[in-house]
Subunit: 249 residues, 2 copies
């Protein structure tokens, strides 16, 4: 199955870098706090970050006590920045697609992935590899775009009133899984839509026990400062799941 | 919290009975097959059916080998039919709200509930009671309206083209949980919307391990006979979850 390396596209990369450089974005306000709220105590833990990008999370895992962190990413451009800006003696960055994870011979206590899985076609293959490199009772935590987002097949995403206020999401094809072509800085960014039930079933059939699920919504404080995020009540942007590897007996 | 007994309303009851008497409906085509596909072997098992209605499922549980079946329902009218049409020496029907389940002193091996939880305000209380009356490793299987349905807050549910074909679901307020007033045969039928993540978290925090989730979609065969069910690809009507009670060690 296809492995997509969109972050090495120069135009995509510059566009992405610009929004990540702006501190007020949905990642910083919603996805990152939710992800870290799910993290276990990392003291002396070995952590693997799939799709580590610029390595900010890897750095934070070390600061939070991890004894060893490996960050993998398919994009050399992203890893170049990671090595420059977020290097540490305890961190190793490896240029590798997460679809090739079966080649990884090390064991980890915690596997994390932030906003990368919706680019992955072979989700069940990646989940299977994660299961095998996790230690007993190891934790697996990931975020991805919410299925209410990934199902989008084109056309206007929203119906708005005459003042431009979003009234509702034009939801179609939630039950039609598979590839979606979208435009994000460049044409033909491929995403893969899976329903809530397919995601859950893939995880539990592999041997994970789901411990928590988050679809982040804005607090009153955030809404007061950034009222535009009221839209998340119609369509949460993210889905996060925390799991534990079960030992079969 | 409120306990709703809409099925004892005469107009609601007659309207409901009419659609259930018609064999071609979404329950028969999608919900019931999915529910029974999740059932474990019932041989010598004690089964509790929450919101058993006319008792058709109770009867089938006995036919499938259950040693004892208890069906509870808040509606006397429904239970009257259950006793007339689906009685059996192994079945006991009890007129009781599922919110009062904590009073039940018996133990069960399997708890089932079909399309009743979206009428229940105190979902976590009911789930807690179910946990306590289940035997070790007991199974809990339920269906409810899909969260993409229960979130509806009024207005047109669909945007259609000039020929009346459904183009997309007008999805709003998915992130706003709580009571919804809807019209189904009578005014003011109360339903309670919960997101996928709230449903999952309530179950796992109580001590259930999720084994499977189904959002039923039509097969090619069904679509050929009943093309109108193509709409389910935009909005699945049902959500079903199968769980096991975990033993804390």
């Amino acid at each position: 199955m296809a492995k997509q390396n969109i972050y090495d596209n120069a135009i995509f990369y510059e566009g992405y870098k610009k929004i990540r450089d702006n501190n007020i974005n949905a990642n910083n306000l919603f996805e990152i706090p939710a992800l870290f709220s799910m993290m276990p105590d990392l003291k002396n833990k070995r952590v693997l970050d799939l799709g580590c990008g610029f390595g900010e999370h890897c750095k934070r895992f070390v600061e939070n006590g991890a004894s060893k962190v490996v960050g993998i990413d398919i994009s050399e451009k992203m890893l170049k920045v990671a090595k420059e800006e977020n290097s540490d003696a305890k961190i190793t960055y490896i240029n590798m697609a997460m679809e090739d994870l079966a080649q990884m011979k090390e064991q980890f206590d915690v596997v994390v992935s932030s906003l990368a899985f919706h680019y992955v076609e072979d989700f069940s293959g990646v989940v299977e590899s994660i299961y095998h490199i996790l230690s007993d009772n190891g934790m697996f935590i990931f975020s991805q775009e919410n299925p209410l987002c990934t199902c989008h097949t084109g056309g206007n995403r929203w119906t708005k009133d005459e003042n431009g206020k979003k009234l509702y999401l034009n939801l179609a094809n939630y039950g039609v899984e598979g590839e979606r072509e979208s435009v994000w800085f460049v044409d033909n960014v491929k995403k893969y839509h899976r329903t809530f039930s397919t995601i859950v079933n893939t995880l539990v059939e592999t041997g994970f026990s789901i411990e928590k699920m988050i679809e982040p919504l804005p607090s009153d404080e955030i809404l007061e400062k950034y009222p535009e995020y009221n839209d998340l009540f119609h369509k949460p942007d993210f889905l996060l799941i925390k799991m534990r590897k079960i030992n079969f007996y």
